[in-house]
Symmetry: C2
Subunit: 203 residues, 2 copies
DNA sequence: TTGGTTTTTGACCATTTGGTCAATCGGACG
DNA sequence: CGTCCGATTGACCAAATGGTCAAAAACCAA
């Protein structure tokens, strides 16, 4: 039964429930480590019922990944050539860090996929993602050439923003272990990264 | 058969062969995604033969992880309170980046483990790793207080070094997809990170 | 060569897991 | 109330997988 778009209220609800459960399970165990039983239990449904709403385990995974790319790239899409360069980039960093705080599971799902060679995203990376990054890199390069920010390589600037913000979601366990209790990693990260990029970008 | 330490030449060699194969397979597929058959094939041995040298799949994984922690923390151990602060930290960044270049599989193995909650490393993180980071953070804090480097949070400085260097190994697929062919990500990263930390740390 | 030890493997096993299916359930509508 | 269609599930299956074991092969010292 191909449920391209939900027709009934209950389909809508159950598909969402399954996706939320699958996100939790995939993020924690990776694609192979996750089982349909785990997802079904987490969703409060039976395994055959889960497969009534999605044709396969892989279909659930693919659905999650495509949803992810969309919201994940929003902050970069909003980088505005007409805005103040430093402000634009600072806002981008902050919004990216907000994503790490509010959606750590999505971040880990994505990280799992990329680390293992992005077997289900290769094309999306080389086309959509590359196009967007190239476009925004041109904007940043323009700012640099105009002397409005320091002369940094735009691609690596973007990579550094990704690396630094996602690190706080993906490696949360390590960070908490090292910092010990009683500290708020994400809050500290916000001011640290603000300072870091201020110093890096100042003309 | 518990082969705590190899007694014969052939044991030594086969254990190393298996660990090398397992590193490749675990890094690419994660613990659950890797199968003993994959490891055996990669090692050029039969599955029962692999289990002759290691008691279980998990034992292979644990062996790799403990080996990893050791070499992985060496550069941080060498951070010398008596050296020139900027130089010491620059060397640390460069050596960490060298590890990403030379041992990307180890980096991904570690990343896989941490992202999934470090089920087999929790204790090592909270004890050994925390102790080392706290010790070196104290040194960095001393440099900052003496005005020899900028006033940065030492823990987050170390996190940022980890994030930025390991990103080039763990997310290599993404970076290559975005940069396209004909560029050398690691070479570019070296100069980019050198500049980034120069600006960040200058008093 | 021989006897004993180490190494290797084919056959096998129990469990897990993704997925199927016929049968049942349940609610909305006439 | 009865019918129909979407929703749910217990039972089941085939393949994959971690691991075992007895026997064969390779090796080595005397």
């Amino acid at each position: 039964m191909g449920l391209q778009q939900p027709r009934t209220r209950i389909q809508q609800k159950n598909r969402e429930t399954i996706l939320a459960a699958a996100l939790e399970v995939f993020a924690q165990h990776g694609f192979r480590g996750a089982t349909l039983d785990m997802i079904a239990t987490e969703a409060g449904l039976s395994k055959p019922n889960v497969l009534y709403y999605f044709p396969s385990k892989e279909a659930i995974h693919v659905t999650l990944l495509s949803q992810l790319m969309d919201t994940w790239l929003d902050p970069l899409r909003d980088l505005d050539a007409g805005g103040d360069p430093i402000t634009e980039l600072r806002v981008y960093v902050r919004r990216k860090l907000d994503l790490s705080r509010d959606y750590p599971r999505q971040s880990r799902l994505f990280a799992n996929e990329i680390i293992q060679g992005a077997p289900r995203m290769q094309s999306a990376l080389a086309t959509d993602l590359k196009a967007l990054v190239d476009e925004k890199s041109a904007i940043i390069a323009g700012w640099a050439k105009a002397g409005r920010i320091a002369d940094v390589d735009p691609h690596h600037l973007i990579f550094s923003i990704w690396a630094l913000t996602q690190h706080y979601a993906d490696f949360e366990v390590q960070i908490r272990a090292v910092l010990g209790d009683g500290r708020d990693p994400l809050a500290e990260a916000e001011s640290f990264l603000d300072m870091l990029f201020s110093r890096l970008l100042a003309p």
